[in-house]
Symmetry: C2
Amino acid sequence: MSAKRAEMLMNVAFDLFAQRNFASVTIKDIANAAGVNTALIYYYFSNKEGLFRATLESAIDQIFKDFETLEANATNPPIVIDEWLTIHLDYFERVQKFVKICLDYKGAAETDPVIDASIESFYDKERQLLADAVRDGIAAGLFREVDPNELADHISTHLDGIMVRAVILPGYDLKAGIGGFRNVIWQLLGHTPEERDATQ
Amino acid sequence: MSAKRAEMLMNVAFDLFAQRNFASVTIKDIANAAGVNTALIYYYFSNKEGLFRATLESAIDQIFKDFETLEANATNPPIVIDEWLTIHLDYFERVQKFVKICLDYKGAAETDPVIDASIESFYDKERQLLADAVRDGIAAGLFREVDPNELADHISTHLDGIMVRAVILPGYDLKAGIGGFRNVIWQLLGHTPEERDATQ
DNA sequence: GTCTATATCGAGATAGAC
DNA sequence: GTCTATCTCGATATAGAC
């Protein structure tokens, strides 16, 4: 089945593109890591850039799926926010790779409007998910009356900051970073974890 | 004067390395942008990596100098924090480029312990500056009793997040982002801007 | 110090056998 | 579909004139 094979190649490429950047990853690197010949990559993809595009789009799709799983499970607003932080721990590597690849992509000479739109829609969806949770929490009397959009932006931006820290600083404690941030959020929302457990 | 010439080359290289990444910037690009011949670069630097190393170190030095200017002007804790945010607006491009280059550098195949140490000391200094301001503010009765180190981490990490946002999202409003974050900080510190102006 | 000219090497990409 | 073999081109880096 050809789709499976292409998908496998994209998964291998995704990891490599995240570890190093686009230019320093060679077709040979990808072929070696995938255990195939370099020429095979050109059978499935038009060229290196085409492979990169397809890889990034596929990664965005996968993260969207994680979103939907979360949305289905979420019962009340504090849990949505809490789980959204947890997902960053669980799927940490994937999200971090995504952020890294986006930055690298944005540094490239040319950008593709289709990919640009995908990236933006990713962040829009994240923002919407969080803003809705904050709004619902306020309506339910669980949270203090903050601006839902502003707080959603804050959470989303800060999580990107944490992802970057984990790349730049070798000894960065991701779990502590997210744990500390969780406390900040509850403080901003005037919400204690005890309350959350009670409503659960 | 040879130092001036080398410095000029590093400034040109810094901009290019920040715009695109290490691998995609060619020696020819740098030479053209600087209006010199490619061979001249090898007169001043051992090779492309040596130029990169020197460039990053020089950039870190420059940011440290901005730090010190700030520290000298700062009279009381809320102003230190406020100005630290402002510096990210004023020197936005420089800091953003620095973060981008650090990320790119960390994605390279090999890393240099000297550069690693420089980057870490940069973040250490930022953290210390902020933690001291928070501690002083608490001692002066201006701020609520938070953990100075935790809050310093939060500010520092969030600013990195903002820098990343500004790269990834084209329409990102940096001023609004930092302005909103300023309010969050005052809220966490239980400090109103009105009070700050009064103590000024 | 700065340039011209050039060596060298590796990466992306393709043709064509199987 | 997957491989071997190869082409082509551009980038780093150097030798040496001025």
